[in-house]
């Protein structure tokens, strides 16, 4: 669609408000954003399928302090800190003078298709795209605001704007010692009109804030236990609701003791919560069950509701038409399907002639690599507060895509979505799970029935049972070597749902390349798990690299360097970037290996493993040191990681993600495994689902950030994918035990 030129770029609306200069910076809405405008500045990246922008609201006060709302959603990926850094850099704000508010205001509108969109900006977060999608906008917004201040100062001094410099909330006349604080200029500056061509963005060499280590703006609230999460919030007078949810996929209510629940002091009502099946983006054409059937207990207090739930003694029956879901049986079926070359498969990639390539090879290696169902297990269990009035509504929760909340309210209650006030709070973890709106819909449906404000609180068991999991997966790799070089690669993969990340290397590195995806009939709901499908791809590919290197008597690092050398940019057709750059990948391997002192001789039983991967445009490699004792006890040593994420906006938080994201990958490699028997999760809490703790995690993770002038890309997901292969390769190097099945703790003791 077309729209006026002026709305294609960020524009500023300013007004004088309560003695302070209020500057509101708005973005073209989601529907208005064009890929053309983005392509100009982000040559390496395609526009995101979910355009994620921000609305930032800056107020410059008369005392020269600044009040700033950072409305991007934060789930631990630090976007509430990173975004203001980009804006403040171009505005030349003094970071020490900024007060950050906890507010995350959400304004909604409708597009020409009547879909609900963000009125000014899309603050959603997911897919490691928040930095990429806001980089251009926030810089322009900051530069435009600064130009308003410059014009005001130039007018007062009667000098050309080119003579003016800005630094730390002050405007200087470069030919004299005159200066104004932003606070002095703000009120009048707010009426300055700024022509589009009158300002330009900073050169990266002039950055004073970007590239410096800044702390989390919410740090003090977190360490002092302030009520900043959805679970901490209450709508005044809300009733407390606890739902007894069907533990098995597809189960229905058989019976429950309503009387016993109502007999509990404080319990006011018991109502049924309906099952809800939907079409879902990751789960193919058939509907999947995203909301369990349940019995909801309504009470004055949470404790009464919890006791009421216990009193229900709900019995369940298998829902009609539901097949038994057994995760071990499903994984076994994945092996059978991919072993049978005649079994139906979707041809996903076919470069060259893989059969010919394998036939020509000097030798072919064939191996299978397995990954189980992964739980998200966000530390903060789901919760949602809802108040539905006659023609308006309030919802309080944490969600990665909060605008969907308004649509859900409208669908369920008929209340105009634009009349829904959404309080999207800091999330106690997301990892892709809170992209979904299932727990919001359940609460809205209940509020609609109960006709009073409610707060729904989940327990951990239900949170794990009703997860939308990271797919279990088995991949068969056949790799052929000719004249010492990788000549053919046949990847055949089966998993619950979803595709393969076959746009990643070794695509473009091998003349004959084929990828096939075998679909399964599993009905276990799948969702986005931190770098969806990337971890299994990197596990299979980077493990096979090491297996091939050994056959060739090559050092694993040398094998990778040989593969990537002489290759620069090649097209990338997956989510996120439009190219892969082999030089960037190679530089990460080398930097990680250098940090680890790769060639140093280590004592027997101690060794290094290496793996790398590109996720959503950022390149990352890790070297893991491990020790394996004679009695096969595994201990993790230091991990060394290198990342190329373009311009490093906040090295402190990039390092934090390198530590946490990698350790999450180690947890997926070592422990995270959900088991379904009789359609229900067997290990539905941390007593039965082992999770990585202090004693298993590396004592240190050393990180190196590759210097780059390219537009920044995300860091939330890229450090996770290399972990499993880096660990498996290290275990092999230390012990001679090659582990091709996750979780690794089932094969070696830790």
């Amino acid at each position: 669609m077309t729209r006026p030129h002026n709305s294609r770029r960020a524009f500023l609306k300013s007004s004088v408000y309560m003695g302070a200069w209020v500057l509101s910076i708005q973005l073209p809405s989601q529907a208005q954003a064009t890929s053309k405008a983005r392509a100009k500045t982000q040559v390496n990246l395609k526009p995101s399928p979910c355009n994620q922008d921000w609305c930032i609201y800056v107020q410059i006060n008369a005392d020269n302090s600044v009040t700033l709302n950072s409305p991007i959603m934060d789930m631990g990926q630090y976007m509430r800190t990173t975004g203001p850094m980009i804006l403040a850099e171009e505005m030349d704000l003094d970071w020490r003078l900024i007060d950050f508010t906890p507010a995350q205001p959400i304004a909604l509108a409708r597009n020409d298709k009547n879909d609900v969109i963000h009125a000014y900006a899309d603050i959603n977060t997911g897919g490691s795209m928040a930095v990429h999608n806001n980089w251009d906008y926030l810089r322009k917004a900051g530069a435009r605001a600064k130009q308003m201040l410059i014009q005001e100062a130039a007018a007062r001094w009667d000098i050309p704007t080119s003579q003016i410099r800005c630094k730390n909330n002050f405007v200087f006349d470069s030919k004299s010692k005159r200066q104004f604080s932003y606070g002095e200029l703000a009120e009048k500056a707010s009426s300055q009109q700024v022509p589009d061509d009158s300002f330009k963005l900073k050169d990266s060499k002039d950055y004073t804030l970007i590239g410096t280590a800044k702390h989390n703006i919410d740090l003090l609230d977190i360490v002092t236990g302030k009520p900043i999460y959805g679970l901490d919030a209450d709508i005044e007078g809300a009733l407390q609701v606890v739902v007894d949810r069907a533990p098995a996929i597809g189960a229905e209510i058989a019976s429950y003791d309503k009387k016993a629940a109502l007999a509990i002091n404080g319990v006011s009502d018991v109502i049924e919560s309906p099952r809800h099946d939907v079409n879902h983006w990751l789960n193919g054409p058939e509907k999947i069950q995203v909301i369990a059937a349940g019995v909801a207990v309504v009470a004055d207090t949470l404790w009464a509701a919890m006791k009421g739930k216990r009193a229900l003694k709900t019995q369940w029956k298998t829902g009609e038409g539901f097949k038994n879901q057994d995760s071990e049986a499903q994984i076994k079926s994945f092996y059978q399907t991919i072993a049978d070359d005649k079994a139906p498969a979707q041809l996903s990639k076919n470069d060259g002639d893989v059969d010919k390539g394998l036939a020509e090879a000097d030798f072919v290696l064939e191996q299978y690599y397995e990954k189980p169902l992964l739980a998200h297990a966000c530390m903060e269990p789901f919760n949602c507060s809802v108040e539905l009035k006659k023609d308006s509504a309030t919802v309080i929760t944490g969600n990665q895509f909060p605008h969907q909340i308004a649509t859900i309210v409208e669908e369920v209650s008929g209340i105009d979505a634009l009349k829904v006030s959404i309080h999207a709070l800091r999330m106690g973890g997301g990892f892709g799970r809170k992209v979904e709106g299932d727990y919001v819909r359940e609460a809205v449906v209940l509020a609609h029935k109960i006709k009073k404000p409610i707060k729904v609180t989940w327990n951990r068991e239900n949170e794990i049972e009703r997860d939308m999991f990271g797919s279990a997966c088995v991949a068969r790799v056949r790799a052929g070597i000719k004249n010492g070089k990788l000549h053919a690669w046949h990847h055949r993969q089966s998993q619950n749902k979803g595709g393969a990340q076959d746009n990643n290397y070794p695509q473009a590195l091998v003349p004959h390349y084929k990828s096939e995806i075998c679909h399964s009939s599993s009905d276990i709901p799948m969702g986005a798990w931190r770098g969806p499908m990337h971890l299994q791809w990197a596990f299979a590919v980077e493990s096979m690299y090491d297996e091939l290197a050994e056959k060739l008597s090559l050092d694993p690092l040398q094998f990778r360097m040989n593969l990537l050398k002489d290759l620069g940019e090649t097209p990338y057709h997956g989510y996120g970037p439009s190219i892969s750059d082999a030089r960037r990948m190679a530089a990460c391997y080398q930097a990680a290996a250098k940090m680890a002192d790769w060639d140093k001789k280590r004592p027997p039983g101690t060794a290094l493993g290496i793996a790398g991967h590109m996720t959503h445009g950022s390149y990352c490699a890790f070297v893991q040191e491990v020790s394996v004792s004679k009695d096969k006890q595994l201990t993790l040593g230091t991990a060394y990681g290198a990342i190329d994420c373009g311009i490093a906006i906040n090295p402190n938080h990039i390092r934090a993600q390198m530590e946490g994201g990698y350790i999450d990958g180690l947890n997926a490699a070592l422990f995270n495994k959900i088991t379904f028997e009789d359609s229900r999760v067997v290990n539905n809490n941390f007593d039965k689902l082992r999770w990585i703790k202090m004693k298993e995690a590396p004592i240190t993770v050393e990180s190196h950030i590759i210097k780059s002038d390219l537009s920044p890309t995300g860091v939330g997901e890229p450090p996770t994918a290399p972990a499993a292969a880096a660990l498996a390769n290290a275990i092999y190097a230390a012990s001679g035990q090659r582990i091709r099945r996750l979780p690794i703790s089932e094969s070696i003791s830790i």
Partner: protein
């Protein structure tokens, strides 16, 4: 009536809620939301508070067991130690200042939290741990700190514990 203290203030709980875990009493009855609900079975440590100076997992401790106990939560941690041991930390402009316990101070200096949800529990666990182990080795920390951080901030938690130990010695 069950009588005990929370952050040095005397509180009373009716006998008919004697089976209620301390976690929910703190969050729902005392409006102290800093103590978090994670698993409900004492496995993750998000609900860690101090009972008579020792770390306990409040989701698994019923009020019935608390007669005359002294409970400290994250909200009361800083005021529990002497004024000399706390420092005021400032972020951004001067508008937000907090009095912090040395463990909180170390958490701030190390910028430990990611999502942050488990961190009050981690801090309470670390504060109690350091009283028993004023100069912990890596091995001591690995064995003594068993709270789950879903974001995997263990590297920074470990470093912050070491820094707090140094600052408190």
């Amino acid at each position: 009536m069950i009588k005990f203290t929370v952050n040095q203030k005397t509180v009373e709980a009716d006998d008919d809620i004697a089976d209620m875990p301390l976690l929910w009493f703190l969050r729902e009855n005392q409006n102290l939301k800093g103590t978090k609900f994670g698993c409900g079975i004492g496995q993750c440590g998000a609900c860690t508070v101090h009972m008579n100076g020792n770390a306990i997992r409040s989701c698994s401790v019923p009020l019935a067991t608390l007669a005359n106990a002294d409970i400290t939560t994250i909200e009361g941690l800083a005021s529990k130690v002497g004024a000399d041991a706390t420092t005021s930390y400032q972020v951004g402009s001067s508008k937000q200042t907090e009095t912090l316990h040395p463990v909180q101070q170390a958490w701030v200096e190390g910028d430990v939290p990611q999502c942050g949800y488990c961190q009050p529990g981690q801090i309470m666990a670390a504060a109690a741990f350091l009283k028993q182990n004023p100069a912990p080795s890596d091995q001591d920390i690995s064995e003594g700190i068993t709270n789950i951080c879903r974001c995997g901030s263990y590297v920074r938690i470990r470093q912050a514990i070491k820094n707090a130990a140094k600052n408190m010695s």
